[in-house]
Symmetry: C2
Subunit: 255 residues, 2 copies
DNA sequence: ATAGATACTTGACAGGGGTCAAATTTGTCC
DNA sequence: GGACAAATTTGACCCCTGTCAAGTATCTAT
């Protein structure tokens, strides 16, 4: 079964279709977008945003729905307003590699070919805005700062993939999970997280395994191991408390 | 021993210093650059190239010399005119991951931070031109096509890192080496390679191992294994003949 | 609240690739 | 061209992580 058998248009919820139909002259949602300050468009002033918002469409996806699929026409760029998304590639026999987890403020889909080279799926319920590819590329010319911002974000993403390659190629299972947890902790000073030690883990063990190049059993064993070492506390499978972030970080680098 | 103890300035050969001193009003080398048609600057017309070439400096490095180091100030962008370069990151205990091999036409060093996040070393003798970071970013504004070209090349690089993450996280040793050899074969229709089956392998077994997340012993064993399967012939360690590229490609994907 | 499905954890065992060591080939420098 | 060093190959052995299986916890829907 190919993952591309689930097309975007098939899984498009009715809600977003209504939004498209009622699309105002400019997208009022942009002005009050909660992730605007950390998104691609944060370099635009009020006037520019007003113009830019005309090409934006908002929609929601429920957890587990596909946002775009490998080998599908790369017609849109997606910007996450809230929720978590996983980006993955698959081999023909079903082996999967998750190349990244994306959150509010992240964008994806700016392919260099005319087809997506990966699949994006909602981990949690997500709120997303998207832009037609041709129009956003035009916008990069109309608003050079926007193009520079997209370039910057792409370079940042590229550098983080280098770190992930070091992890995948050279770190042990324990180091991999420590790296993952510490990174999630660094990202977790967001609204909704009150406790400084608390790290919400929206994705499943299976997702973590496919992100770190391990199996779910190894992930589970390493969680248990870190717990026995006193480095973490678990409250269910999706909430972790880091008891010693510094030690975890050191362990992540093999020290 | 930190790799950053070898600074760029320490290993700068005298030859390139003379070149800097004799720098003409514009860099005549750009006009007749052999890698111009595949490089960053291939979007510039003759006039633009003349202006752009003023910020370029040419130099050579011998095999094994360091071009730039992790944590060093990211002052320059480097463009490879000929030869092969490896990009790597290291853990504190010496474990190394090579994130990519670069060849004529490739560029590197366009960091999003003020320090390089990786080390670049010459695998063969290399001919390189470089540009001060601040000036090339200015050039992206003066010549928008240049910025777009850099952005395109960065996105292409990003997509190839996704493939490499799939390889590192989910492929077997055999599949990894098949992928590597097939990719090198695809890149090898370059001047200097006459035989259609011939693939020059400039890098060492150690480099290949650190690129594929394996050890040199495993690389060596897999070379022997592929030879016994009749898929490759070896002429020394640095020249491979692909006897059946299609089968190798299928094996690279696990089919 | 209960039942079934799904997700996660734990255990037993095995194998792919790592480690250590030695032999062989290739490259380099007078 | 010969000698030494470096790189590569090959062999023996083992461990980390994967596989297979069973048990436990959590989630979802009535």
């Amino acid at each position: 079964m190919s993952i591309s058998s689930y097309g975007f248009s098939d899984s498009e919820p009715e809600r977003s279709i209504r939004l498209v139909k009622n699309n105002p002259p400019y997208n009022a949602a942009c002005e009050k977008c909660s992730s605007r300050h950390i998104s691609l468009c944060n370099v635009l002033d009020a006037d520019e945003l007003k113009k830019f918002s005309k090409i934006s469409t908002n929609f929601h996806k429920n957890a587990k729905q596909i946002i775009c699929s490998e080998d599908e026409n790369a017609d849109h760029i997606y910007n996450i307003k809230s929720g978590a998304v996983r980006i993955s590639k698959m081999l023909s026999d079903g082996r999967r590699q998750i190349t990244g987890f994306l959150f509010a403020g992240d964008f994806f889909g700016l392919s260099c070919k005319d087809r997506y080279s990966y699949t994006a799926e909602a981990i949690t319920d997500v709120s997303i805005c998207r832009f037609p590819r041709a129009k956003i590329i035009k916008s990069f010319q109309d608003f050079p700062a926007l193009g520079e911002r997209a370039f910057d974000m792409t370079r940042t993403e590229l550098e983080s993939t280098y770190d992930q390659m070091l992890l995948l190629g050279r770190k042990t299972a324990k180091e991999k999970l420590c790296t993952f947890l510490f990174t999630m902790w660094q990202k977790s000073d967001r609204p909704g997280v009150t406790n400084k030690d608390e790290v919400p883990i929206p994705m499943s063990r299976s997702d973590i395994a496919d992100y770190l190049g391990l199996t779910i059993e190894t992930i589970s064993r390493q969680f248990t191991h870190l717990h026995k070492l006193g480095l973490i506390e678990l409250d269910g499978a999706h909430k972790v408390f880091l008891k010693n972030p510094a030690a975890l970080s050191a362990m992540a680098e093999g020290d």
